[in-house]
Symmetry: C2
Subunit: 427 residues, 2 copies
């Protein structure tokens, strides 16, 4: 068998030079390339021979060096001290629906701690028949489930209440990730401890806290605890990363990320909400009149165009353009996403990459023919509850301008004829 990669015979070279189209027939596209043979095709390349030791030397691999800009980033002024920084997912550079752990949004309140499986304990106490303490090995013995959910920080898009602030999808919408979790349902562990002592469940709560110094305690109504919460030890197939709560975190599907307690150490069944710092002075929504909305746990339907966007401008010429983005809802599955290129005057239905899954990210695509016109690019999500993502004006009308959390309004990117994009507001 001839090694075809070495076939630089005259006839093939002539073919390459003479009849191979420089550029595709892609309708309307400008895919100009230099005339004559392309040395990247006709000449032997130095990079074509690998070093061979690459993978043996990297038993756990990292992204290729050319992708060095696809990383989490923080915004210094958003948090007062380094102990509680926020690192945003580079959603402008990703596609599909899964977020790799390595570049997944991360927020902690007193540092990402290193807690070994041997040192791990999980206590269930309070209004249970039998208080229990589980080691990590104990948790591995209960019936296991695997499910994919998004996590969104309540503060995602929070800076945008006051106007178009942060120039990039990573910063306006990057406090989100979507992973496949494996673990045990919270219901399984609560039933193991026995809930007869709690009497009528309907008015009971669980108070959950982490093993980090902040403890980050939150109260969760028993109905949610018994519905779909999980005690997870794997994400995307492997152990949780340190910054995502290794070895065990709580999963509270569709609810604000702060409730997904990392390094989970204790679950107390209580007769009422604890009203901890993290659910009173923080993670409440201040309204126009200075009062605050209480218990705003669910992340409402939301979407964003990830490309084109300020960090992902159109670099090619006119013609076919893929508009893509993410949509999600804490109330169920995404059923439809519409895209507007004129600031919301007209809408076109986008394709979902697959049927929407309950409380998980959906990827949408819209293929357009772009001839360099300015665009006011928007997306609008709808979910299985019938809810439609609101405009910023609609949201402000109800919520005022004093909020930080739960901004799920329609985002606008102004795309210029150059292909550059900017974060703007439209009335």
């Amino acid at each position: 068998m001839t090694d075809r990669s070495e076939d630089n015979s005259p006839s093939r070279r002539a073919f390459l030079k003479g009849s191979l189209a420089a550029g595709g027939a892609l309708a309307g596209a400008t895919m100009a390339r230099a005339e004559g043979p392309d040395p990247l095709i006709t000449e032997k390349q130095s990079w074509a021979m690998g070093t061979g030791d690459g993978v043996d030397a990297t038993p756990y691999g990292m992204p290729i060096r050319f992708e060095g800009d696809v990383v989490r980033r923080n915004v210094g002024w958003l948090t007062a001290d380094t102990i509680s920084s926020i690192n945003f997912t580079p959603i402008h550079a990703l596609d599909g629906t899964i977020t790799p752990q390595g570049c997944a949004f991360e927020r902690h309140h007193s540092g990402a701690i290193e807690l070994s499986k041997d040192d791990y304990r999980l206590m269930i106490n309070g209004l249970v028949d039998q208080p229990l303490v589980f080691t990590y090995a104990d948790l591995e013995r209960f019936p296991r489930v695997t499910r994919t959910f998004f996590l969104e920080c309540a503060a995602n898009t929070g800076m945008e209440w006051a106007g178009a602030q942060l120039n990039g999808a990573q910063f306006t919408h990057g406090m989100i990730h979507n992973m496949e979790y494996t673990g045990v349902t919270l219901r399984t562990l609560l039933e193991e401890a026995g809930l007869a002592a709690a009497g009528d469940f309907k008015d009971k709560w669980v108070y959950v806290e982490g093993a980090d110094a902040s403890s980050n305690g939150r109260s969760i109504p028993m109905e949610k605890a018994l519905d779909d919460c999980m005690i997870a030890f794997k994400a995307n197939g492997e152990a949780l990363r340190k910054e995502h709560g290794y070895p065990v975190r709580l999963i509270v599907p569709g609810w604000e990320g702060n409730m997904w307690v990392k390094w989970l150490r204790r679950i107390e069944v209580t007769g009422q909400a604890i009203e901890s710092r993290e659910e009173t002075s923080k993670y409440t929504d201040t309204l126009e009149d200075g009062t605050s909305r209480k218990w705003t746990w669910v992340m409402d339907a939301k979407s964003v165009v990830t490309s084109p966007s300020p960090q992902s401008p159109i670099k090619h010429g006119h013609g076919p353009l893929v508009i893509t983005g993410l949509a999600w809802s804490g109330r169920g599955a995404i059923t439809r996403v519409d895209v507007s290129i004129d600031g919301g005057k007209n809408w076109q239905e986008a394709r979902l990459s697959s049927e929407g899954q309950d409380k998980a990210l959906s990827r949408f695509y819209l293929d357009i023919d772009w001839q360099g016109e300015e665009m006011l690019l928007q997306s609008r999500a709808m979910d299985s509850s019938g809810y439609v993502q609101p405009t910023k004006a609609q949201l402000r009308e109800v919520r005022g301008l004093n909020s930080v959390y739960h901004n799920n309004c329609i985002q606008t990117w102004h795309v210029y004829p150059t292909g550059e994009a900017e974060n703007v507001e439209v009335s």
Copy 2:
């Protein structure tokens, strides 16, 4: 609000000491812990305060150091030289269905090459109306799809034809991974080039080759090319890793991994199969009489128990035990997995973590009460075509003992009363 993590008041300490059960009520479990207060619960721990700089310092993160053994491994004697080593997925230590790119099985034939997007070209030539060359940016302009598929090397489990050889699921079954891919369908690109020149498609082929020195050319029937093949540039949301074919690889769902050409550089529409080295002297199955099976592309239904297994022994005591593993089929979705603990005499239906997806990994679980008895642990997959995974005896009866490729027989782990497990054969 009191910082509850600092609440070491006498009453709480008394509670911990006096009434908290040491060990769960988990039916039949032995979860003994030391009498008296557990200092991991009652005492302040040095690890509870994070350093705070952890995530800012790791914009792209790696697994925590405690998981340092969850890595790809090779088996030196399987390949003659380091340029073509095989690195197996640590499936014994993973759960769920997604395989992180960083520890996903990798096989190359002349090194994993570093090919930048700028240097990337993809040619379509042969029996097409308009030969085309695409840059990476061109590919991003076509309608995009996102789909999850398993990749299995034809040689996975190949050493086991001769007997129980490799003592661990990573080595017997680790030439597999499962990722969510984003890219363009091969059909889209072929239609862009135009297939009128090819006449009747049904007897045509595509010959695909990579930009690495080996080129690794393979022939694929046009029917498959137009069915579900993809030109992928993302895996699990982010760019393909170098060793997985950055920037572009071919996806041939359900078919042997060698056909999933990495660093894809050329697609030629031909009137017949090329019968390249990689589909004649390699990747064919030698039968008992010395003749070879030709065109054995599809990976038949298969499964393996990943835990317990030789690398993942039972470390806890008697009582509840989660048996878990993976199942897949190149002919469709997994519909059912049965597990036997007595070497195939009796079978119990396992739970699938979610409905089987077409040509993607399924995760199964079976919860048993293990009282230290020896087990001959097996799993048996069934797929949507009605196919049932065969025993090793059944497979040998048809295929003899001269094969390397396409061993999809039922695997047996002998689990001893100590919880240790070993690769064995049962008749």
